[in-house]
Subunit: 293 residues, 2 copies
């Protein structure tokens, strides 16, 4: 994630900070720009970090910045975060007017340069319209089905089906506010939900989104929720009593716990090939067809 | 007008250019910041220029910039131009979802510092909600009634009545695209429309908005319509065959023609006091109660 509310210049500062990390820790990480970089990372025992925007704020009101962001290596851009943006409506607004005039233009431009439309935080109608308007498959990189957990951020059946029918991708979230029973969510329940979703939209259309905010201080979640748009304090999916990052479920505390999910998926009845698809092959295929012109 | 699509820094550049003009031509113009400045201008035979935004783009996504803009002397801000903004929906969008989450916060902040909410280019529902949410009367600085000329920019009866009932102001536009028969509009017809509006919402609630773009080159209207939001060319209220500024009606070619309107208003049946109200006293009263905390 390179931005939540940053404008273009502020986003560039975040890229500068990442460039410094790539330079200092080149034995561990490098910037991923294409699907092949994922294979390269695996071969070299490193991690390819691919930039994504949680908001469209860095393109400001200038459609020319779409291509500039792609040139900087950004490969996913949400058309809105939780609030209304210049392009689409966020899931926390009372009303959703769909994709705006500028939004239609920007989707076309994103399709042209190979910047993936991500509707993880957008509202229902905006998401359905984005799927329809986009000439290329889009992604919901991190959210869960609403049928399993009725969070505003989770997606209704019609949205899931539209993503599946259009060749898009859904990445399951492990952020407790998107999980049934939140931090107390059971691993078996999570994998059962994955099985039900696979039946609904196809095992080729799903992957892990994680939404893991590992070792981030609480001022990060404050910025995510409040940015600079309000003089009041917004608790988003949290509450005054639970204002910080919620506790991760005990079976997914950090990035070393992915194997817990994969072994439970095997027990749930997925074949080895299906587990590999969910674990990363589906995303790899999606990257191959999505990141270039 | 200090902005159509400018961000904060670009807007500041426009203020810098005006500051230079105020310095170079101090015998003619100065910056108006309060109602008394209008009286001062009249006494000194000069013109007080009061800054207004046609868009909320200069506050970007930062509510703290509302007070900063007021400190720079801005006294009117539209919550949206023709497109969806972060605050409200513009009149050219297909759907109008009303005032956004950020919009509610910003209206409260504008009320606090004394920056007038202007809904001239906003869509119907957003305008009705802004009137309801704002604790202080708002303005439609330049538009005409839809009953007289069915332009997207003109206002329906319910919006006019809500403005009147709330103590707001409507400034009549003289931009040909908002006039019945456009450039061929008759002065008597224009004044008849004013009489009908006065009957509907009260003679205290109306004034002149003019929307006069005197001696502006056509690249100004190009910027107004297109900004940087689209890769296609938008003709707004114009058309490919009439892409530039339309011709003014022959009875209002420039700022020296105001007297044509006032004398026709007298013939239409308005009293001298009523003509004075429409000619400026109503705006002056509105300025007195609107420009400070």
């Amino acid at each position: 994630t390179i931005c939540y509310h940053e404008d273009f210049q502020e986003m560039v500062e975040n890229v500068i900070a990442w460039n410094r990390l790539f330079e200092l820790h080149s034995e561990l990480i490098f910037q991923g720009r294409c699907a092949e970089d994922v294979m390269k990372a695996q071969n070299e025992g490193r991690t390819a970090i691919i930039f994504g925007f949680q908001n469209c704020s860095p393109i400001e009101d200038d459609i020319g910045l779409v291509e500039i962001c792609h040139q900087l290596g950004v490969r996913f851009m949400q058309l809105s975060y939780n609030n209304q943006s210049l392009l689409a409506t966020g899931c926390y607004e009372d009303d959703d007017s769909g994709i705006t005039r500028m939004g239609r233009q920007v989707i076309k431009e994103m399709n042209r340069v190979g910047l993936v439309v991500d509707m993880s935080h957008s509202a229902r109608r905006s998401t359905l319209e984005a799927i329809e308007i986009s000439a290329r498959p889009i992604a919901i990189t991190h959210a869960n089905p609403f049928f399993w957990c009725e969070a505003l951020r989770n997606k209704t059946d019609d949205v899931l089906k539209a993503i599946g029918d259009s060749g898009g991708m859904l990445g399951f979230s492990l952020y407790p506010h998107h999980l049934k029973d939140k931090s107390a969510c059971l691993l078996e329940d999570f994998c059962g939900m994955i099985a039900r979703t696979a039946e609904m939209i196809g095992v080729e259309r799903i992957g892990i989104g994680s939404d893991l905010c590992q070792n981030q201080p609480d001022n990060v979640v404050e910025w995510m929720r409040n940015g600079t748009w309000s003089n009041e304090r917004d608790f988003g999916e949290g509450s005054a009593g639970l204002a910080g990052f919620p506790e991760q479920p005990e079976w997914f505390r950090d990035n070393r716990d992915f194997e817990n999910i994969f072994s439970c998926l095997r027990k749930t009845g997925f074949s080895e090939n299906e587990v590999e698809r969910i674990a990363g092959l589906n995303w790899l295929e999606f990257f191959e067809k999505s990141f270039g012109p």
